[in-house]
């Protein structure tokens, strides 16, 4: 009897793994350049896997390739949600290599970075249309959220019927204004946080589990 029960349990476990838990949802981290996407991706990855995803920087377009961290297991309220995090380059409609020169980068390197940045944005748009199951949209809460890029990206995400969480990042800064973001996108839930300081990450993980689990 015990043997039969054990066998049944193992078959159930294998079946469950094969048909339900085998495909982690791919969650894209999107937003404009310098919103703190990689800082957030690293925070999530370090909290649950111990590894980082990529280098963080105050120079715009530091992330110029989409990077995926697979099988991030987030535990909430006794259950585990497994997701793949895709950290994407900041989306923009223009890239001028001269902007990099202001960050003590020489011209040759600036041209190379701008070329990689444009390829990265194109790649991010492709991922959004084809390859993500949900979106975490990160905004710098010290900046005006009513920009064309934000309006267009939220529109694109909504047209794909993807679940989306809006994160109002950088709440550790004095001029942070979370309400401005809530007012800009009232149709979506906005969660305040500081990815750099790790403030309010518990609520972020609760909502990730709720939206993408």
């Amino acid at each position: 009897m015990g043997l039969l029960t054990g066998l049944r349990d193992s078959i159930a476990r294998v079946t469950e793994r094969l048909f339900s838990a085998s495909d982690p949802k791919r969650i894209g981290i999107y937003g404009p350049p310098n919103a703190g996407k990689t800082t957030l991706a690293n925070r999530i990855a370090r909290d649950w896997t111990g590894d980082a995803i990529g280098p963080e920087s105050h120079v715009p377009h530091e992330t110029r390739r989409a990077r995926r961290k697979e099988n991030v297991e987030i535990e909430r309220n006794g259950r585990t949600v497994t997701i793949d995090i895709v950290d994407t380059p900041g989306v923009t409609t223009k890239v001028d290599y001269k902007e990099f020169l202001e960050h003590d980068i020489d011209e040759e390197d600036a041209v190379r970075r701008s070329r990689e940045a444009t390829e990265g944005v194109a790649e991010a748009m492709h991922w959004l249309r084809e390859d993500v199951d949900g979106v975490i949209y990160v905004l710098d809460s010290t900046e005006d959220p009513f920009t064309q890029v934000n309006t267009m990206l939220i529109g694109i995400i909504e047209s794909q019927d993807l679940p989306v969480l809006i994160l109002a990042n950088k709440t550790d800064l004095d001029d942070s204004n979370v309400k401005r973001i809530e007012d800009a996108f009232p149709q979506h839930r906005t969660i305040p946080l500081s990815a750099l300081e790790g403030d309010n990450m518990d609520e972020v993980y609760d909502r990730i589990a709720e939206y993408f689990g």
């Binding site: 409609t93 748009m125 064309q148 529109g155 694109i156 047209s159 149709q187």
Partner: protein
């Protein structure tokens, strides 16, 4: 009507106002091409009825592939913010139809600068090449 001479054209900025009827006949990539060809010539393109979200996504992607140092820095694009309740009727949502009727202004990033935008007004400064 007096003819515009090449000298006049060099002194000014060309504005192309494209009707919704003209865009309706075109495939997504034809629309993207029409816009980028105009913008790369230094023109300001105004679309009576805008683009769908999927077309906006393709416009960003193709723009990125065409950016080249000291030649083309990309585009500035402005539309009125999308109004969630006004844009799509219940039937449209049920049928998955997207209403995209929103005036859209597109120009070269180094020639157009948005001064102000709200739900009812877009104010932009356009300079010559």
């Amino acid at each position: 009507m007096p003819e515009v001479t090449p000298t006049d054209a060099e002194d000014g900025v060309q504005i192309d106002l494209i009707s919704g009827a003209r865009m309706e006949e075109m495939a997504s990539m034809e629309k993207v091409r029409l816009i980028l060809d105009g913008v790369r010539d230094g023109n300001i393109v105004i679309l009576e009825e805008g683009l769908s979200p999927n077309e906006e996504s393709k416009l960003i992607e193709v723009t990125m592939t065409e950016i080249s140092p000291d030649e083309f820095n990309g585009i500035e694009i402005e539309t009125y913010p999308r109004s969630e309740t006004a844009d799509r009727s219940f039937l449209d949502r049920l049928m998955g139809r997207e209403s995209t009727k929103k005036l859209t202004v597109i120009g070269p990033a180094n020639q157009i600068q948005t001064l102000h935008k709200d739900e009812n007004l877009i104010s932009a400064l356009v300079s010559r090449k």
